[in-house]
């Protein structure tokens, strides 16, 4: 369909009245002139970013608990599961950051290559975004994307130092990271939901029925 490509681009150039080949540098400065130098209008809040993050996460029906170290994450996960009909089998992401977790003996912990067999999945977020209480996860061998969508119970581990205020901070951070963008870069804000039946909100549409965040204080 390369002729379709030429046809479409040709029509665009005619419509835009282009005479020569477009200049990428000129386009960049035209964007600057059109949009301005400052950042986008965005939510603002009083107080610290972590509190804002927690508040927005709760508003999106997510839950959270804070623990003092990565080792303590295991106990927090066990406590969370004990109150739910979720069993004791945990599928954790291979992320090396989770190697420091001390898992209680009664949990069966398996390192997952994907989410197909998982009822309970544990992933690690690269960042938390305070403006909306969202968690940012990058797919890859460390954190398989399907582990965030197939389990009924999705638990995400996040270092408090990784909470940033806005989208713009996420992009600035990720542009410095090797391998960005990954195949799938996910912003997760609460559990799966639908309002397709009579506009009535129902959690657990296709993805996780609940979302729990374990904040590791750093």
């Amino acid at each position: 369909m390369s002729d379709a490509r030429e046809r479409i681009l040709g029509r665009i150039r005619t419509a835009l009245g282009r005479e020569g080949p477009p200049d990428a540098e000129a386009t960049r400065s035209a964007r600057q002139a059109a949009v301005g130098d400052g950042p986008s209008q965005r939510p603002e809040w009083q107080g610290d970013d972590l509190a804002r993050f927690q508040q927005c996460l709760e508003a999106a029906a997510g839950t959270w608990v804070a623990v003092p170290s990565m080792a303590e994450v295991g106990r927090a996960v066990a406590d969370y599961l004990a109150e739910r009909p979720a069993g004791t089998a945990v599928h954790r992401a291979p992320d090396p950051a989770l190697d420091a977790v001390d898992w209680p003996d009664h949990l069966t912990v398996e390192t997952a290559r994907d989410g197909r067999a998982a009822l309970v999945g544990v992933s690690r977020a690269l960042a938390g975004m305070a403006e909306t209480g969202s968690l940012a996860l990058a797919s890859g061998p460390d954190n398989p994307a399907t582990l965030a969508f197939l389990p009924d119970y999705h638990i995400i581990v996040l270092r408090t130092a990784d909470v940033v205020p806005w989208f713009e901070d996420i992009w600035a951070r990720m542009r410095q990271t090797d391998g960005f963008p990954p195949r799938s870069f996910n912003f997760i804000t609460g559990p799966s939901r639908t309002a397709d039946v009579e506009q009535t909100l129902q959690l657990g549409a296709h993805g996780p029925r609940s979302l729990h965040v374990v904040l590791v204080e750093t």
């Binding site: 379709a4 029509r11 964007r31 039946v197 506009q199 549409a205 296709h206």
Partner: protein, 474 residues
């Protein structure tokens, strides 16, 4: 789907008298409108955000060739394939060919309006592929063999009773005794059935909420997570998007995302906002092996040329229809094609053709609510008026209207005669209608009085009243 916009009037009349539809439509006002207002009011400078959104889209459209080529190069760099589709037929062929090459038996679909536009489901079924819609609303209307009636809540016209009946028929062969079921039970049943489809699908097809030139990525915005299961589980991911979906940078995408969720569902952020770039990387342990993006024209380059370029800013949030008194009264199906409400009344004539969509630009009270809530400030009422003008220029306006306008214009060019006649006519009507203050029947105005009363004029013309007012103020 084939456009049925030429049947707008009978379809609208039927919709007004459909009690199930009227019951379902009451939810639009209660849900979307109030939720949007709440989150917009607490955003510090939503007006500034709208202005920024408008500027980003205008700039992108004015440099669309540059950004499309940049996007294409970045997709290639990430290991993906880019396909260009000028028309519906080309888009169908591209997607069915990909499915054939993948030996696909089952295809799962995330919601895509571009896919609806080019009738992807029909083409795939004709090619012998089982095609399953996975957005719950889309799944419901697929079972009912109906088109979507809202761009973000496709089954908004269905009541819980109707959905219970559909599930009973399709999931239980009509054996269920409990006729009306609760929402959690219905959602859970669909989840179980669709989970099996997700796990066995060979190809996943999604749309895109925006495309980013900088990285060759697409953004998918969902609440159910169906989009992510659709693109992450099968061996092949195909996305289809209109060429106007581009933005230059990730920062621009963020501006658009801030506008989209708030305008669409009244959320600060949907549960899942995902940026997809290419197929799985070498060390990845899940994700599709192939990634294809189909860039669709289908009339968009034509719109780029003239006064309707502004319509290409549309980010498909649905706020215009949620706030439209006409949509609120008749729902989406009466509009006859995939895009309903104000944005549909502009888009459908431009894509399907002016001649087969005569009523759409006229199904508008020009009250302007749509424009005031549009996240990218599209002047929808102006565009509808422009379409009416085009209809007139192309001789598509009904003969009675043309004659009426011609007669009026003849008098209007003769101000003395016009004033004298207006004075006499209004004086007479004022006297006759004084007692009741309204007319239930009027000669030559049966179309008006069939649906409402005509208020009796106040015995003097506007111009006379104006002169008097000015005299008094001096």
């Amino acid at each position: 789907m084939e456009s049925r916009a030429q049947y707008f009037k009978p379809a609208a009349r039927e919709a007004l008298h459909n009690p199930d539809l009227q019951q379902a439509l009451a939810n639009v006002q209660a849900g979307f409108v109030g939720k949007r207002k709440f989150v917009v009011d607490r955003f510090p400078d939503f007006e500034g955000l709208r202005e920024r959104g408008r500027r980003i889209k205008d700039h992108t459209l004015a440099n669309l060739d540059v950004y499309l080529e940049q996007f294409e190069a970045q997709v290639h760099a990430a290991g993906g394939h880019v396909h260009w589709a000028g028309t519906q037929d080309e888009a169908q062929k591209i997607v069915t060919d990909i499915c054939r090459q993948a030996d696909a038996r089952i295809v799962t679909k995330g919601k895509t309006m571009a896919g609806e536009e080019v009738e992807l489901n029909e083409a795939l079924e004709a090619a012998g592929v089982e095609t399953v819609e996975t957005d719950l609303g889309e799944y419901i209307i697929q079972l009912a063999h109906e088109p979507p009636s809202h761009i973000i809540a496709p089954a908004i016209h269905k009541t819980r009773q109707q959905i219970s009946d559909l599930f009973n028929e399709h999931h239980h062969r009509g054996t269920l005794k409990d006729k009306l079921r609760e929402v959690p039970e219905l959602v859970d049943e669909a989840r179980g059935i669709l989970r099996q489809k997700f796990l066995s699908a060979d190809v996943g097809i999604t749309g895109a909420n925006c495309l980013v030139a900088e990285t060759g990525s697409l953004f998918l915005v969902t609440n159910e997570g169906n989009g992510d299961l659709t693109h992450s589980l099968p061996r092949v991911h195909v996305a289809i998007a209109g060429i106007e979906k581009l933005v230059p940078t990730l920062e621009d995408a963020a501006t658009q995302l801030r506008l989209l969720a708030r305008s669409a569902t009244g959320q600060d952020m949907t549960a899942y906002t995902t940026m997809v770039t290419g197929p799985r990387r070498a060390p990845d342990t899940d994700g599709p092996e192939e990634f294809h993006i189909v860039l669709l024209d289908n009339g968009r380059t034509r719109m780029l040329e003239g006064r309707f370029r502004e319509m290409l800013r549309c980010i498909r949030c649905g706020a215009c229809m949620n706030h439209c008194p006409v949509y609120s009264a008749i729902g989406g199906h009466a509009y006859g094609w995939v895009y309903p409400g104000p944005m549909g009344s502009v888009l459908t004539p431009l894509i399907v053709g002016l001649d087969r969509t005569r009523d759409l630009p006229n199904a508008c009270t020009l009250n302007g609510r749509c424009q005031s809530v549009c996240p990218v400030k599209i002047p929808l009422p102006d565009l509808l008026r422009d379409l009416r003008e085009e209809q007139y220029q192309h001789n598509l306006t009904p003969r009675t209207t043309r004659w009426g306008l011609a007669v009026w214009a003849w008098f209007a060019r003769r101000p003395r005669l016009y004033n004298a006649l207006a004075r006499a006519g209004i004086g007479a009507m004022g006297r006759i209608g004084r007692r009741k203050g309204r007319f239930r029947h009027l000669p030559l105005a049966g179309g008006w009085t069939a649906g409402r009363d005509f208020p009796a004029p106040q015995r003097t013309t506007f111009q006379a009243a104006w002169r008097q007012q000015r005299g008094a103020n001096r």
